[in-house]
């Protein structure tokens, strides 16, 4: 059955209001947070932490970062500006979206603990591998 125009419009405006509120709040927070990230800080981190560890940290930070998913984009843009490698950016974005802390518990409720635990391990292995391989083969992304 074809949806009515009114139904589509109402769905659109409700979604738009919800998204604009969440994205607006997320962007405001991400940009406020980026005020505390400086070029020197990033250079220090890059110098003191080896590349595979940077990717591993980015993956774990991604995993524990809360929703909304849009929040990551302004942070990624700032990190890229500071010269953070493409592999770290890939690990951060993939980690952020693949595992959601609250989703972990929902999955445990639906399927039992083994399901999210195994998914967490699988996601970590793949995200880490994607980050490291990106740094080896696609540095200038």
């Amino acid at each position: 059955m074809k949806p009515r125009h009114g139904e589509v419009l109402s769905y659109f405006f409700k979604n738009l209001a919800r998204t604009m509120f969440l994205v607006g709040a997320g962007t405001l927070f991400a940009l406020s947070l980026s005020a505390f990230m400086t070029q020197e800080m990033m250079e220090g981190l890059k110098r003191n932490i080896s590349m595979p560890l940077q990717v591993a940290y980015a993956t774990m930070i991604g995993f524990i970062s809360p929703e909304p998913r849009y929040i990551i984009y302004p942070i990624l843009a700032k990190l890229r500006e500071f010269g953070v490698s493409a592999g770290v950016l890939i690990a951060l974005i993939s980690g952020h979206v693949l595992i959601e802390p609250s989703g972990f518990f929902i999955e445990a409720g639906f399927f039992g603990w083994r399901f999210p635990m195994k998914r967490l391990i699988v996601s970590f292995i793949l995200t880490f591998a994607a980050g490291v391989l990106t740094n080896i083969f696609f540095r200038g992304l």
Binding site: P3, V8, Y11, F12, N15, L16, R18, T19, M20, F21, L22, V23, G24, A25, G26, T27, L28, F29, L31, S32, L33, S34, A35, F36, E67, P68, R69, Y70, I71, Y73, P74, L76, A77, K78, R80, A86, L89, I90, I93, S94, V97, L98, E100, G103, I106, E107, F110, F111, G112, R114, K118, R119, I121, V122, S123, L126, T127, T134, F138, L141
Partner: protein, 171 residues
């Protein structure tokens, strides 16, 4: 209905927490935060504009793709279903909470957990609504590379899950 209300309240709470945290950061270093906001004002506007496009795409997909689409194409336990599951996941809009009822229904229909993992991986790693944001903020090359990665990571996630499940089977 009650679940929908609960979800909306949760989203509102997250939004207000983010606003509150922004206020805290502003109070800690008002000059730094003001400078960051004014320097990145164009980026913020760009993200908001791209979000409108993202909403249009998600609404279109929501009304154009039938709800039983995933169920129709994932029944069966062959390896090719891992690829189908990933592609269907990539095309499914909405937050991850929205797909749990679909995943649960698929599980009830007998779809293997490995295929469900590919579906969840595809859905979470890159939704259709985030495409304009990703292209707009990170560029087309970054997006295409991520799309390729997603197409590889989805089936691999399912495959790896199946391998681990041989040693640690699901209850």
């Amino acid at each position: 209905m009650a679940e929908e209300k609960k979800k909306k309240a949760g989203e509102l709470r997250i939004g207000f927490i983010l606003l509150l945290l922004s206020c805290v950061l502003f109070l800690i270093a008002p000059d730094k935060v003001t400078a960051s906001l004014s320097v990145n004002f164009a980026l913020a506007l760009k993200i908001l504009a791209l979000s409108v496009v993202a909403v249009i795409i998600s609404v279109a997909v929501n009304f154009l793709v039938p709800p039983d689409f995933a169920e129709k194409h994932l029944s069966g336990g062959k390896t090719k279903h891992l690829v189908y599951a990933t592609i269907l996941g990539l095309l499914t809009p909405g937050p991850v909470y929205a797909i749990y009822p679909i995943v649960f229904a698929l599980k009830k229909k007998g779809v293997e957990n490995g295929i469900l993992v590919s579906y969840i991986t595809g859905q979470t790693i890159m939704g259709p609504a985030r495409v304009p944001l990703e292209i707009g903020v990170m560029g087309l090359r970054f997006f295409l590379y991520r799309l390729l990665l997603s197409l590889l990571m989805g089936p691999l996630a399912g495959l790896l899950y199946m391998l681990i499940s041989r040693k640690f089977p699901d209850p």
